[in-house]
Assembly symmetry: C2
Amino acid sequence: MQKRVTSADVAREAGLSRATVSYVLNGDPRQQIPEPTRQRVHEAAERLGYRPYGPARLLRGAKSRLVLMFTPGLEHASDFVAADIITSLGDALSASGLHLVWQLGDSEAQGASIDLAPAVVLSSARESDEAFLQLRQQFSVPVLPAFPGLDGFIAGAAEAQVEHLTAQGRTTLAFAAPEQPDLKPTADLRWVGVTRTATRLGLPDPVRFAVPADRDGAVRALSTLLDTHPDISGMCAYNDVVAFGVLAAAADLGVAVPERLAVVGVDNHSLGPLAVPALSTVRADVGDFVRALAREVARAAAGDDPETVLLPTRSEVVRRKSS
Amino acid sequence: MQKRVTSADVAREAGLSRATVSYVLNGDPRQQIPEPTRQRVHEAAERLGYRPYGPARLLRGAKSRLVLMFTPGLEHASDFVAADIITSLGDALSASGLHLVWQLGDSEAQGASIDLAPAVVLSSARESDEAFLQLRQQFSVPVLPAFPGLDGFIAGAAEAQVEHLTAQGRTTLAFAAPEQPDLKPTADLRWVGVTRTATRLGLPDPVRFAVPADRDGAVRALSTLLDTHPDISGMCAYNDVVAFGVLAAAADLGVAVPERLAVVGVDNHSLGPLAVPALSTVRADVGDFVRALAREVARAAAGDDPETVLLPTRSEVVRRKSS
DNA sequence: ATGAAAGCGCTAACAA
DNA sequence: TTGTTAGCGCTTTCAT
């Protein structure tokens, strides 16, 4: 553990005071430092490899430039557009001079919150979730939802699916739900969107069924469904991953897609175009949302009042071969 | 921005000194604090919602419990077993009281390194990479490769692929490379593994070809390949994602898999079992590696000497329908 | 234009 | 057993 290079070292090296060093390095506009002096400081800092020490700076009262995001797990990150959002949010925040870092888990911040001094905390949990509240009381900085308006977003995707299938002349629909218990809340939301839209369009009530994650299970589930409800001709999948399960089952059962059964997923998964047949899906443009969220985070980091940002509720169809 | 609750506040509330508060809260074994006093402190802290302030603690010289990991992008996270490794590494580190956080980008740490005081830094880059060196000079703490021995790991996967295909009686092989330029280095490594193993087994030289990310491009590429090299019967894909492209192209071209062409990917992608036909793949058990890496990181965090940890070089085949 | 010094919140050596 | 205090590295007011 090499000794830390401090601004005092730089000052000594440059033959100046610590104050001058600080002025130069932070470009304090209220000070007039002659050019030669600036040079001396910069050279000394360079020579010594000086890096300001964050904790001291923060202790002094500097505003943190760190944004800490909590996500339960990595799978979740490939869920909906999360990966997209996270990546582009990072970029957008950099533009405001903020740095996005990321922690797995939903609130195990106990330890991290000690060594970490974020300006803002983001959580993938809903504002009403236990995990979210825990974060609120763990941190003394603003805690924001990373995916505000998720409910409307989810329902919107379902709406787009149903409308699309209807436009293709498929009116008797099924909803393919995932089996994982932790996905239940989201799946329920999507299901509500599906049924509500079906009702609005005057379609028969859709049928909900669960698709096991394993292929054999998926085959059995689809087989049973089509046996008991032979009139079903359109399938809204919870997401593209579930849709892959449906496509696999259809292939194994010899069910022709889209002739016999049209399938639509959600999320625009990168492998969708490579499915057999290529998977139709639904996706929302989150560009505006991400930019707005980044603005919102920057505002919160600066201590300004929040402003409501919501995920889009409109999704557009990406039509491929499966529908 | 509410005023921060300090240990002085707790001391005042409890009618004690800051030192006593600190002793109690940190459970200093060298002090004998009577039980009633401890109670008073804990109650006061609880009542005020006191949380120790990290920066001050670190400034005082506490060792950071933070491990910062750099990953270029999220796609990379779905690459090889990275997602697996990262998730389980986080768990393993928690067991040692360390907290894994994560930053996208390879060295744009300029800013973050200021507000962040990690005990150890991990980078997905190779030790010889520019980005890696940059991190080394940016941080004054140990910087470790997150995927040490990646070269052997990659070559090992290729070896397993070739051996598997050979065992299936496929001796004239092709290697399906991705087109993305940033994947080139890794793809080259895999290619070397493929050719070397083929040579060792006395097979004819494999043929390398690039698979565009889009379906049409993939179809054209595969079509051309099979036209020019009609004797090819086995395909090693760079990874499962590329393998999906090959499967899609084969389906579109009416090339029977595995009868006409056996396909093997790498990574055990979660969608592999749902491909049409289910995708054979190759994967290494990284459990031991992750545990060893966690130990290594903990050791580095404690300032102990490093010990070499390497990714496994042996991969096992997950045989499914495509081979 | 530059320097001296205070203080952010915390821990630990030293006093009482 | 508990309190006093120095000092970690940094910024910034105030004095020179």
